[in-house]
Symmetry: C2
Subunit: 188 residues, 2 copies
């Protein structure tokens, strides 16, 4: 029953994400994480040196994924393609990893932890530039972008929407986002 290397670390991060989603980042202690895994706090400290390090490791995959979407969007040839790539990419990440998205962008305790460290703000800026294009500066567009980002994070966390499949949620979010941003659906 020996587990492969790195398995313990992965199990720990999965368990931590579930606890973050349920109790908030500030409301999750090392003891809760250890109990969830059936081990002691010291075992947790063997994998990570500090509590902050765990929180970073939980959200890093999502930030890397956002960066990849931003890369793809910026490489697209036309403004319409950049918008489309950025929007569908962000929605896709949000839908397929709802808990992580909600924890990443909806928790003030997390915001305090990753203040500068992880470059979330940079990716958010790149993506909103790709989506808003020339209108990035005007107030209505800025409000629209914030509304969309915060709303999508909430949609991922809301128990009232937990009954929706990934396909349904993705479809509705894309429709609503395009309406909010006055985007036409792509020809394809």
């Amino acid at each position: 029953m020996r587990r492969p290397p790195g398995e313990a670390r992965r199990r720990l991060l999965d368990a931590t994400l579930r606890l973050y989603a349920a109790h908030g980042v500030g409301g999750t202690s090392l003891r809760m994480i250890a109990d969830e895994l059936g081990v002691t706090k010291a075992a947790v400290y063997h994998q990570f040196a500090t509590k902050e390090e765990i929180a970073l490791a939980v959200v890093q995959p999502a930030i890397d994924a956002l960066a990849a979407v931003a890369d793809a969007a910026e490489a697209a040839p036309t403004r319409a393609a950049r918008r489309e790539t950025a929007l569908t990419g962000v929605v896709e990440l949000m839908v397929t990893d709802r808990e992580r998205a909600a924890v990443l962008s909806g928790d003030p305790a997390m915001a305090a932890l990753i203040g500068g460290h992880a470059g979330l703000a940079t990716q958010a800026r790149r993506l909103s530039a790709a989506i808003l294009g020339a209108s990035a500066g005007d107030p209505e567009s800025r409000v629209a972008a914030t509304l969309l980002a915060g709303g999508m994070a909430t949609a991922g966390r809301d128990p009232g929407l937990a009954d929706l499949t990934d396909d349904e949620l993705r479809t509705h979010l894309l429709t609503l986002a395009r309406r909010l941003l006055r985007m036409r659906a792509p020809h394809a």
Copy 2:
């Protein structure tokens, strides 16, 4: 320099709201509240028996105000008037008390505290019924309502929108909300 009765309680709740907005509910201790007021923890405990009681008292005004908006909306004669009353009322509360709105609906630690107690869920249900009307059941409308509620809370908290005046934020939020919900602007 004697202060009027109830003044100490009001000052405490004001200070607590500021701290909640800055550090999150879970990240705000009784000691921080006491320090902010320049008194000791025991003085805080003279006003409120528990930490939870403080949190409830901070958000109760917002919940009462939401209930009043729901009352007004349900009393309106037509479906269009109900939608309009509910939407403008909610936006108004959000805009004029941004910090409280963000703390109330954006903090998982607060959500855990007020789980059943304060009837926030009831008011949210009434208001979304008034706004969505007959389409309250269909998935796209439910996603739209969640997107809007979560997005408005985020808009109130986002430092990037702090430069907008109340008038500007109100105007943009109403425009975007109507677009999202496919509502016509009122004739008035």
